[in-house]
Symmetry: C2
Subunit: 322 residues, 2 copies
């Protein structure tokens, strides 16, 4: 891995983090605080909003029953959360900083510079941004090499995914350290090799969301129909198998290859406002190969059986079948 010139190395190993600073304590920052507390970390929070501490403690209290139900780490306690009046008090003693400020690029650039100035240079600073690239946010940081994106999903205390990606000035060591830290902390991590606006899950989710907004704006569907179409339709498959493996099973025994050969022409249909990718032989082969790698030797029949068990388990867990 390339290390930026002058990068001093990191203070602690990913497994040695004890104290985490949560900068910004709204829905996402508060969710992070609850998650880290439940996993046995000390958390120091800062947020300049009025009543921020009261709202943060409400968020943590609200998440705690869920976190207790799925199991607290030894020694985990809500009273290991402290809220401090100054940013520097939050970050100066932290082993790791998670920033979760509002989604405003100018604000993020300024705040990350402030965090950078107040945080020892051998501590990683991770941003919860929903889609800005670290390259565009780290521009005013003196120690830009330790700035990284660690993008969670709401609520961060229950949804496992964190997308980790650096900017052009970020050290590859920092990206690797951050991925490892989130894994140690119990998260499911996707480490991206390159910056893509919206990362991966948000690009997919955002495409769906924009189509939904268009449909409501055009009178094509109501909010309730949109939600029902997902909760009672594709949404039941997606926790079990992702969109690619789902469609691998739409092709019968022929899998993704047959599916693309059969439904390929449908990509030209106006079934969404999003213009389709050209289904080149190369893209076709890459989709097929990816599904085969994911299947890892499991046959179509194996995958169907796994999907069926998973969907039934989800339906039953939600009280929708006996």
């Amino acid at each position: 891995m390339a290390v930026s010139p002058g990068f001093p190395g990191l203070r602690v190993a990913p497994g040695e983090v004890r104290t985490i600073a949560c900068v910004g304590s709204g829905v996402i920052g508060g969710g992070w605080a609850a998650y880290f507390l439940a996993h046995g970390y000390d958390v120091v929070a800062w947020d300049p909003a009025p009543d921020a501490e009261t709202r943060l403690r409400h968020l943590v209290d609200q998440a705690w029953p869920a976190l207790t139900e799925i199991g607290l780490a030894d020694g985990a306690a809500r009273d290991r959360l402290s809220f401090v009046p100054e940013l520097a008090d939050a970050v100066s003693g932290a082993d790791f900083v998670q920033e979760s400020a509002p989604e405003d690029l100018g604000l993020k650039i300024g705040l990350l510079a402030d965090i950078d100035a107040a945080t020892p240079p051998d501590v990683v600073v991770s941003s919860s941004t929903s889609g800005y690239g670290m390259s565009e946010m780290q521009v005013k940081c003196a120690h830009a090499e330790r700035m990284v994106v660690g993008h969670p999903f709401n609520p961060p205390y229950l949804i496992p995914l964190v997308e980790v990606v650096g900017g052009t000035s970020t050290s590859a060591d920092v990206v690797a350290w951050t991925s490892e830290f989130f894994k140690v902390a119990g998260k499911s991590v996707i480490t991206m090799d390159r910056e893509v606006p919206g990362f991966i899950a948000n690009r997919l989710q955002e495409a769906l969301w924009r189509e939904a907004l268009h449909m409501v704006a055009a009178g094509e569907a109501t909010v309730e129909q949109i939600d029902l179409s997902i909760t009672d339709g594709p949404g039941l498959r997606w926790p079990v198998q992702g969109p690619c493996l789902t469609f691998h099973l739409a092709g019968g025994q022929g899998g993704m290859a047959h599916m693309l050969d059969h439904f390929g022409p449908s990509l030209q249909s106006p079934w969404t406002r999003l213009v389709a990718a050209e289904l080149t032989p190369q893209l076709r082969d890459e989709m097929v190969a990816g599904c085969e790698r994911e299947a890892g030797g499991r046959s179509i029949d194996d995958l169907i059986a796994e999907r069926d068990r998973g969907v039934i388990a989800v339906l039953r867990a939600l009280g929708r079948v006996p």
Copy 2:
């Protein structure tokens, strides 16, 4: 409800259907056959492909353990499936016809005309099409008023959703009868007032899918990363709360209103290749009002608690938390 001039009325009430013809018995048609058999119907299938009967019986056998686990209707049995060599033998004695042929508009137009000619005119014919409008498919049918779309999701024997929508020549009575029939048969039904290519769930799913194809084509993500980003991210929320209610909870106590006011500018970000809808005050208010209707008096805190219970139940059902 408007009834087309000359429409003779329907043979049986939705609750009196006994025999169902499944025309086309691939992954979807075979899934329908398994579903209807498990719900105690007689099923007569036809498919012109070589080995179609063998493949159909394999599909039914494959689905049967899942259907048995969630409960068979009294008298439900696989030997109530018959496979016939001629289309007319399948449809002439049926109380309801479900067509699930390959997704090819020309083929569908011809096949629906053939079905129409062989099916008594007082029997509803429903198409599993993934996205063609009935208006474009019913053009060669003499009894176009009984042709309707009943769009399922794979596998039809487990995923509850069916989208029901008529074409310009379809009787409103037929749309209502079909919606009622699917409800009686245990399905979750969305009845659409107007034809939209791709209906609702497929438009949403297709937007996500096209973005995924673009990302693979552009080298922005692998197939495995795309699937993991959904199964470990938003996919865990969607069986519990749809995309609108999910984002209602991204806005903190301010709900969808705050979410749109906060993330509205992000709609201009390149977070997907799909250009955003203009967030007019009218659209904003409609999204907010829709979420409030769905919430039905439940507070943000109530909805958060429900979401958390649901996500934990899903995670636990899939063996991902203790």
